[in-house]
Amino acid sequence: MAKKVALLQGNDACAQGALYAGCTFFGGYPITPSTEVAEVLSVELPKRNGKFIQMEDEIGAMASIIGASLTGQKVLTATSGPGISLKQELIGYACIAEIPCVIINVMRGGPSTGMPTGPGQSDVQQAKWGTHGDHAAIALAPASCQEIFSETVRAFNLAEKYRMPVQVIYDEIVGHMRERIEFPEPGELEVIDRTAPSVAPEDYKPFDTSFGDVPPLAAFGSDYRFHVTGLNKAADGFPTTKAELVDDEQRRQIRKVDAAQPDIESNDEYLTDDAEVVIFAYGSTARSARYAVNELRKEGIKAGLFRPITLWPFPEKRVAELAGQVKAIVVPELNLGQMILEVERVAKNACALAGVNRVDGEPINPGQIMDQVKEVL
């Protein structure tokens, strides 16, 4: 049977991906250019007995999804620019309390209101370092409408599997463009649910690491009764200031992501095998970069594209390998140089490195990337 196809906007594809993943609760606040995610889910969730709530502000939206997640729902919020900054407070809460949730950030420029209808990739470091305190981060950066769908599904899977907030970050260009999308059949994409406790209610501890670095999470309103706090806590969920317990908890919450990097990491490579120059690009910028690679090849320059789909954790190993292979890495970004800092850290001067940067609300075009490649070689 032919697959169901549609011409969908990126933000709509995100909403459809969330539904495919089993999202049952959306808490949001209107902000351009992410609002369509909320609009679509306000229509679709109640049809499926799901819940949509428009909260009083961005922080309230984040709070509502954490509360809903604790009752066993798969939860989502979507925002942009100043909204993601406001949400950082409770992204930290979701990190330490280990509450699965998915946060969409449709990136625009800035800081502040900036150019709300223009594209940007200026929150890519914020996705890692935005919230306070030491914490792990997972952020996925799709580059097409189809990929927004599938990466939103994967974000839910990772959030549930690793019991933490996961961000899907894409620029306004990808969020607002319309492309043909094929809907996967049910079962075609993996859908993961959180691990339920296997012990009796009286033996349950919400941070029991005897089951590994990701303790099973029970639901409020079930047979299990437990305490949740944003304070550092012991295995039983109650606050502690014991040095060794606090240290264990902090390190475990980072280790659970570090150790799972092979499962979390996802990259797309194009003509990198024999490449002398690699363009490191993500989101809409990678589309221009792919075009540039083809044009450069026509001119006899062995160019390739490395496109991280998982932006965080950063694909350190593969970027280091490429840095050892090529003469140069070029990093086009719709910001003034953010992910290039990670490439620089990992490449350790093994090759030349140059950025292509725009923050004028316009996309980076292939010609700009080609010029920089020729310049750096």
């Binding site: 909260m55 999804i65 939860v75 409020f220």
Partner: protein, 271 residues
């Protein structure tokens, strides 16, 4: 026979963090009795709080408990209730937590008239951080950040709740211990957002700075300023000067948020 509080307290979690003379323990006992009166099942009841002295209460209570971030309790609780309307949701917290940093969440929870019970312990100070003035600190009073006297006007929490749309609003004090559980129980039974303001005291960070020589003096003040709503009608404006009304201040039957959303679901499915 003395009431058995321990059946509602988590084993090993006491003593609590509250100072001698603090009214929060009296309020917690009232809340325990009220939840018991209403027959709230432990596994089906969430007790949600923000940050501050009062917000430590859920940790002691043997229910589904959620100690959130500063000011955010009402918004977390909204998520819990919206996702699982069959759960009983109680919010507990202080005046700074609920009406300053959490003011927006508080008024909008009231506006939605979502079925939960918010017990707000108003000791008119930020106690945990050492006694800074809150939106409920009396004008002119001393706090660690108003050593020359508080220049700010104060919030009347109950009026705020009524104005914002809560459908059950009541007030009492920690002196009126037996009224606390009656009002909370009435709030729990009420369908919609209920707010129970409990005026209490912080001898450590407020009393010391404001010339209360003992906890007894502070309790006497609570006794003296409280006027039951029924009695207030027979009093002159002059007699009511400096007093606060206690008892059920407002009660109205109006649509509850989760029920309203159930209709949204029905319409979406019918469309």
């Amino acid at each position: 026979m003395a009431y058995d509080y321990e059946k509602s307290i988590r084993p090993g979690k006491l003593p609590h963090i509250w100072c001698p003379g603090c009214g929060h323990g009296i309020a917690m006992k009232g809340l325990i009795r009220a939840m018991d009166t209403c027959g709230l099942e432990k596994n089906n009841t969430a007790v949600v709080s923000g940050i501050g002295c009062a917000s430590r209460m859920p940790g002691y209570l043997d229910f589904c408990t959620l100690h959130t971030a500063h000011g955010r309790a009402a918004a977390f609780a909204t998520g819990v209730k919206m996702a699982k309307p069959e759960m009983n949701v109680i919010v507990v917290g202080g005046d700074g937590d609920g009406t300053a940093i959490g003011g927006n969440h508080f008024i909008h929870a009231c506006r939605r008239n979502i079925d939960m019970t918010y017990v707000i312990l108003n000791n008119s100070i930020y106690g945990m951080t050492g006694g800074q003035f809150s939106p409920c600190t009396p004008t002119g009073a001393k706090a660690s950040t108003t050593v020359y006297g508080n220049p700010d006007p104060t919030f009347d929490i109950s009026k705020l709740a009524i104005g914002a749309g809560a459908s059950f609003v009541a007030r009492t004090t920690s002196f009126h211990a037996t009224q606390i559980d009656k009002l909370i129980a009435e709030g729990i039974k009420h369908k919609g957002m209920s707010v129970i303001e409990v005026l209490d005291d912080c001898p450590t960070t407020y009393g010391r700075r404001n010339k209360f020589r003992s906890v007894v003096d502070m309790m006497k003040r609570l006794k003296d300023i409280a006027v039951p709503v029924a009695a207030a009608g027979k009093m002159t404006a002059e007699q009511l000067e400096g007093k606060v009304l206690t008892g059920v201040l407002y009660k109205e039957d109006k649509p509850e948020y989760c029920e309203q959303y159930a209709q949204v679901i029905a319409r979406a499915k019918g469309a």
